[in-house]
């Protein structure tokens, strides 16, 4: 055994650490709030949009209790000066290791057909990728080709890092924390928010999901997760009117009473209650089913991804103070078997939804404020595996989308001859930490060195125009 192998005798014990995964925590270490002090609300709606919306459901919750309105005003005053200046990053995760040799397949590389006798896509389908004549877009990824044609997509045809790890969880963890560090506990977006965020705005880091996304894990400021702003209410049977409003207040007060408890379990529960209360205050003007979009999104009501993107555009239009948003794309990308079937539907819904989101932002005049980053934990092995699938590989696929995206490919397609490592996986021609650093500097205009370890050692592509 080599000396790299050692039993974990570390003092700080956790299952998370055992599996090399970041634990996102919603704002451990918030500044103290004195008991009896009213809860901060911090809705980011402009005064006008708030007043327009309070005619609906929000009034019945907040207006009736007559407790919260002064607080909401304070929050509005603060957010109104900030929100419109804020740029937003949307992180979209392709879960499982998306196969770049399928998404952007090298029809012009003869080795492709040797390595993928059964899985290779035919050279006469899909549209050509006009920055490299060897590559073509998967037919289901037509929407990405459309965005690329409009100069709104920066493509990373082989992105990764040196000494790639083939474990989903380890590699995903690296991408989430922004470093090849198995023990890091905060996400790269979480560390940005710890510097740029506020103590009373859970929406600044939002997972549009049923759970928090580890890339958003912070050490100081609160972050949030929810399925959608129109689905974030707290109802109970046999409780209505003013008592319902007071019950919601009591939920927040339970949080305040316990969010700084000495017992860790009690503190976790108290923290979740307090943050949920704050988040509810922020999104309360969205009643149930109030989201309308100027464009049509693909899929139906059961498809979470397009619905969440539509609600995201609506939240931005309402001026809510979002900074970093994370969500998972539909589809299963861990295609060990039957890859052709597994991949197509997910890619199509992902790409079509992101195109609709872009059109939505353009229609609402918000497109210049939003950058979308699409990533996956790794690519697949170049050679197919015999189960009509592919095993875990190294470098993979990435995209930056938006009117402000640079639109020029970053790193080249390395080819399947000299471009493979000793294990038959694509070598990386761009590094995700350089991309993160570029996003932090060029989009958020902040010092990447304070957020990405050894940021100076990674090349900075031009990502934002």
């Amino acid at each position: 055994m080599t000396d790299r192998i050692r039993p974990c005798g570390c003092a700080d014990f956790s299952r998370t650490e055992l599996f090399r995964r970041a634990a996102a925590s919603a704002g451990e270490g918030l500044p103290p709030i004195e008991s009896g002090m009213p809860l901060p609300a911090g809705t980011g709606l402009s005064r006008r949009s708030f007043i327009a919306r309070t005619a609906g459901l929000a009034l019945s919750v907040y207006g009736a209790s007559n407790l919260r309105l002064p607080l909401l005003d304070e929050g509005i005053a603060h957010a109104a000066t900030q929100a419109n200046e804020s740029r937003v990053l949307v992180s979209v995760f392709l879960d499982g290791g998306a196969d770049v040799l399928n998404l952007l397949f090298p029809a012009g590389d003869s080795r492709y057909y040797e390595l993928r006798p059964k899985l290779a896509l035919s050279p006469d389908i899909g549209v050509p990728f006009d920055e490299d004549s060897r590559l073509r877009w998967h037919p289901s990824a037509q929407a990405f080709a459309t965005l690329h044609g409009e100069g709104k997509a920066t493509v990373f045809p082989s992105i990764g890092y040196t000494s790639p790890d083939k474990s989903h969880f380890t590699s995903r963890h690296y991408w989430e924390v922004g470093a090849t560090d198995a023990t890091a506990r905060t996400g790269w977006l979480g560390r940005f928010l710890d510097q740029a965020g506020r103590a009373d705005n859970p929406l600044q880091g939002l997972a549009l999901d049923n759970r928090l996304q580890p890339a958003l894990a912070t050490a100081k400021v609160p972050v949030a997760s929810m399925d959608g702003p129109d689905r974030y209410s707290f109802k109970a049977f046999g409780v209505s009117g003013q008592t319902e409003a007071r019950m919601l207040e009591a939920l927040g007060q339970l949080g305040l009473a316990h969010e700084r408890a000495s017992d860790k379990g009690v503190r976790q529960a108290g923290d979740a209650l307090a943050q949920s209360y704050r988040l509810r205050g922020q999104v309360s003007p969205f009643g149930t089913g109030t989201i309308t979009s100027p464009v049509k999104y693909p899929g139906d009501q059961d498809d979470d991804f397009p619905r969440r993107l539509a609600s995201l555009a609506a939240m931005l239009a309402a001026g809510l103070p979002l900074r970093c948003v994370a969500l998972s794309a539909p589809g299963r990308y861990d295609t060990h078997a039957d890859q052709a079937d597994e991949l197509s539907d997910g890619i199509k819904l992902t790409a079509d939804s992101l195109l609709a989101f872009q059109r939505d932002l353009e229609a609402r005049g918000l497109a210049d404020r939003v950058l979308v980053h699409v990533w996956s934990e790794f690519g697949r092995r170049a050679r197919e595996n015999g189960s009509l699938g592919t095993d875990h590989g190294a470098a993979g696929f990435g995209l930056l989308l938006g009117t402000r995206a640079g639109g020029k490919m970053v790193g080249e397609y390395p080819g399947l001859t000299s471009g493979l490592d000793s294990e038959g996986n694509l070598k990386a021609t761009s590094d995700f930490r350089g991309v993160y650093s570029g996003i932090l500097e060029q989009w958020f205009e902040t010092d990447a060195g304070a957020i990405i370890p050894n940021a100076g050692s990674f090349a900075r592509p031009k990502l934002v125009r």
Partner: protein, 444 residues
């Protein structure tokens, strides 16, 4: 009951007071919370016998009404979508032997298999029975059974792993998640060689014909020499499992992972070493569980957030209510733990149950649990006194005491609502909801 406890005499055992509070914590950690009166009864046994009564139950009875859908029609676990979950949730609610059931949940998380990949409720339930049957026995046996289990073969491509086209999916997770831990004592070459050793299993599932042809076929097995952890041999699938178990880093992984399901703080060095000693070479689960459940850290350490499914089953146990709604499928999903649908093969993240989304999911769970017993807002005969209403709400959940902070907030809520002319029934409904969502009931 014979007690084979002398093999871990050097492990510390809890010697402090063992009353209803300690017994209740034990019932939450090793089961799904107490039924009314159960904690008091268990406390009379003393810690050691209380633990042994849980880990070595004399038999099992399912107590209470059998599970149905919302129209009172019996569930169909093999066919109707989501009913496989109701079937298991019902066991958690009604069983008289909660610890074997809790172990089944632990193994479902440990060998996390998802219906998304398996696509068959029957195969998921077959695996579930396998985990239940072997849950407190030999981990070596359990590992072999899981390795050849049809649901697992489908989930991690074991059925596609053949001599001519090895598939690394299972080999990697076998070491990373099931026996050794990430980056602990194996490398990429071991992954490839273990995949070769594991070749030979086949089988498939088709919507029309169901599960077919799950068997070992020698022709598909790679009979060549493999090198695993520096050892050479013509290894097969059983060797692949054995090599992992015999790896010097396996006992420490096993003990740490198992401990983490019961106690949220790290075991001391000595405890860790003794637990490894207890486990090493024997692979018996029960003695390790019994030692953990008697450990002082369980009773003296901080509270743990209850996993969403444990929380749900516990609410129903406390209410004496059975599983009578398909709504639990969606509700447990939004609370963050839909059985048979772990987020991925590494299972659920037990340190991260609570965030703003899953907290709201728990709120909805409680609301749904309380729906059928919600009082009419105009109901009469209730006291117009916040103290008395809070006492009634506490006895509804069988909670004798509350944390001081919780009590103050709830009394304040009750007093202010009554002062604003809210009906006592409305206030009582809200107090039941708030007690259940308080940190008091979300942790144990």
């Amino acid at each position: 009951m014979s007690c084979a406890t002398n093999s871990y005499v050097s492990l510390p055992a809890y010697k402090g007071p063992f009353g209803a509070a300690q017994a209740e914590r034990l019932l939450w950690r090793a089961g799904f919370g107490p039924r009314p009166g159960q904690a008091k009864a268990l406390a009379k046994k003393g810690v050691k016998n209380a633990v042994l009564s849980l880990t070595r139950p004399a038999g099992e009875k399912l107590v209470g009404p059998a599970p149905t859908d919302d129209k009172k029609v019996p569930i169909a676990p093999l066919d109707a979508r989501g009913h496989e979950l109701l079937w298991w949730l019902d066991r958690m609610v009604r069983t008289s032997a909660p610890t074997p059931e809790r172990m089944t949940l632990i193994w479902h998380d440990w060998f996390a298999t998802s219906i998304v990949g398996v696509k068959s409720q029957k195969l998921m339930l077959d695996q579930n029975q396998l985990l239940r049957k072997g849950g407190l026995g030999s981990f070596a046996e359990l590992l072999l059974n899981v390795t050849k289990d049809p649901a697992m073969l489908l989930w991690l491509s074991g059925n596609k792993n053949t001599r001519l086209s090895p598939n690394e999916n299972y080999a990697r997770e076998l070491m990373e998640l099931f026996t050794l831990g990430a980056q602990r004592g194996y490398d990429e070459s071991d992954v490839r060689e273990q995949a070769r050793a594991l070749t030979g299993w086949r089988g498939y599932y088709r919507q029309k014909t169901g599960a077919s042809d799950f068997r070992y076929e020698p022709n598909l097995h790679d009979t060549g020499i493999k090198t695993v952890f520096g050892k050479k041999g013509n290894f097969d699938w059983q060797d692949a499992c054995r090599l992992c178990l015999e790896h010097p880093l396996h006992p420490s992984f096993f003990v740490r992972r198992l401990w983490s399901y019961f106690i949220p703080t790290a075991p001391g060095k000595k405890t860790q070493a003794e637990l490894e000693k207890l486990y090493r070479g024997k692979y018996q689960v029960r003695p390790v569980v019994e030692a953990i459940l008697q450990h002082p850290d369980l009773y003296r350490g901080p509270r743990m957030v209850k996993p969403p499914v444990v929380y749900t089953a516990g609410l129903l146990r406390a209410m004496g209510r059975g599983v009578d709604s398909t709504r639990w499928v969606r509700l447990t999903l939004t609370a963050g733990q839909r059985l048979f649908l772990p987020p991925d093969v590494s299972g659920w993240d037990d340190e991260r149950w609570l965030d703003t989304a899953t907290l709201r999911g728990r709120w909805d769970l409680v609301a749904w649990a309380l729906r059928s017993v919600a009082l009419d807002e105009k109901a009469t005969g209730l006291p117009s006194d916040a103290f008395k209403l809070l006492t009634q709400a506490q006895s509804f959940w069988h909670v004798p005491g509350l944390l001081p902070g919780t009590r103050k907030v709830l009394l304040d809520f009750g007093q202010r609502s009554l002062a604003a002319k809210a009906s006592p029934a409305t206030v009582l409904n809200a107090l039941r909801q708030l007690i259940a969502i308080s940190p008091d009931l979300q942790t144990a």
